[in-house]
């Protein structure tokens, strides 16, 4: 692989709050086109790891790079999509339509006065089409269901044609049917559009079935697995002890 295909590189990254070290000497690399699940028990540094990659948190030592550039100097933010954990904890009465919400992300592509031109409008339409929400463009965001809002936020990142999308627990509070649709959409973004995906999740079983790679966060360390050889039951035993078994839901 060439250097160009490195999307994310963490080199000897250590991070903690006060005297508690959450991550110690973490080394981690994501290549173009991969679909990573970051898993780990509650309170492990899953979201922290994501925020470090995005430069929202600064490591105590070590470096995080995006596309080979240290994250502090990285400027091509339109290549990065980010769907934070609390994205749907917004004020449901917020006066914004789906279209306004999705258009907002085009801001770095607009001129000084931030006018929308035909090209921008087309981008918004295309993004809504990919996630299947074009019929809802004029709806207020608060009127949509959790799964629909989720797709709008994905469309919001898609308007910039990102090369990588980061998602923090995207399926919390989303019903099972929407989860299935969500993974279908992820497959489309990953396989057809070649977008690298990084997803934090606590749902180890499902993640191991859908992703290409898995990073397990726990006890200051990071363990990396190929999704094909990853055994979620063994993993759970290793962190919770022998008595835990993964419960497979039959929906």
């Amino acid at each position: 692989m060439t250097v160009l295909s490195e999307v994310i590189t963490l080199h000897n990254v250590t991070f903690g709050y006060d005297e508690i070290t959450l991550l110690r000497d973490v080394n981690f690399q994501v290549q173009h086109g991969e679909f990573w699940g970051i898993v780990g028990p509650n309170g492990s540094a899953k979201s922290t790891l994501l925020k470090l990659m995005l430069g929202l948190l600064k490591p105590q030592s070590g470096t995080c790079s995006l596309f080979g550039t240290p994250v502090g100097e990285f400027r091509k933010w339109d290549q990065i999509g980010y769907i934070p954990q609390n994205v749907r904890e917004f004020n449901m009465g917020f006066p914004a339509t789906v279209k306004e919400m999705v258009s907002a992300n085009l801001i770095s592509q607009m001129g000084a006065f931030k006018w929308m031109n035909a090209h921008h409008r087309k981008k918004v339409e295309e993004a809504l089409h990919i996630v299947g929400m074009e019929a809802y463009a004029a709806r207020r965001i608060g009127q949509l269901s959790g799964g629909q809002q989720q797709r709008v936020f994905i469309a919001r990142t898609l308007v910039n044609s990102p090369k990588v999308i980061f998602m923090d627990e995207p399926l919390v509070g989303v019903d099972v049917e929407s989860q299935e649709k969500f993974y279908e959409l992820m497959e489309k973004l990953n396989r057809q559009m070649g977008i690298t995906l990084i997803m934090v999740s606590h749902d180890i079983g499902v993640v191991s079935e859908r992703t290409s790679h898995i990073a397990c966060v726990g006890k200051e360390k990071l363990f990396v697995h190929d999704a094909n050889t990853f055994n979620p039951e063994e993993y759970l035993e290793s962190i919770y002890g022998e008595k835990t078994r993964l419960v497979h839901h039959a929906h």
């Binding site: 990065i80 980010y82 917020f94 006066p95 770095s108 004029a138």
Partner: protein, 267 residues
Amino acid sequence: MPEILQYGFMQRAFLAGVVVALICPAIGIFLTLRRLSMIGDTLSHVALAGVAGGILLNFYPIYMALILTLLASFGIELLRKEFHQYAEISLAVVLSFGIGLATILISLGGAGAQVFSYLFGSVTLVTSRDMLSILILGAIIMATVLFYYRQLFYMAFDETAARLAGVPVKRINMIFTILVAVTISISMRIVGILMVSSLMVIPVATSLQLKKSFLVTFIASLCFGLISVLAGLTISFYASLAPGGTIVMTSVGILIIVAAIQRLMSN
């Protein structure tokens, strides 16, 4: 020409009133959506100290208020970092400081009557100098809000996402804080210090009732502000009442009517 517009002071009051009616909701919508409407209240208490100080030192009260509210808004930012777990504390501290200083300054000199006109707003006392300051600064505020409209919208919804989308959040927060301070300092002449923050919040609360897009909500809040100020000034003239009171009561009246209509239509 109707009688009300034959007086020079009423022409000045209406002109200045229109500007205030537009800038207060234009700033207020972003304050309200970010749940920062208390900042308006806090800075207006500081503006009172500025007015009292200005009268005492024989320095133009609006500019004195402007200087103090600007200093106070930076003070709030500093204190916010100090008490980052209790953001409201920084507002409470600055508000207390403002009202305490104002009380001392007012009791120092015999400026009572003049301070009164700033507390409740005034129609007859709007000078040409006031009007000019309001027109120029108001135009700058409106132009800045429109220029940063998209950025402010995005930041109001989700500051982290806005930052990642390339919005210079820190710089715009700073600019916005300055806009709030200037808006309060120039609006108090018409609506009064005690009611500036009402004019920032109530027209916005009314337009939120419409449950429309952000653009419609924004424009509607300016319209509701405009109706409140024009009607309030007219009532103030004919009934010889302080304009602050009539403007705010009109805006509350509109809010109740719009909310009632919305309720009826949804049933």
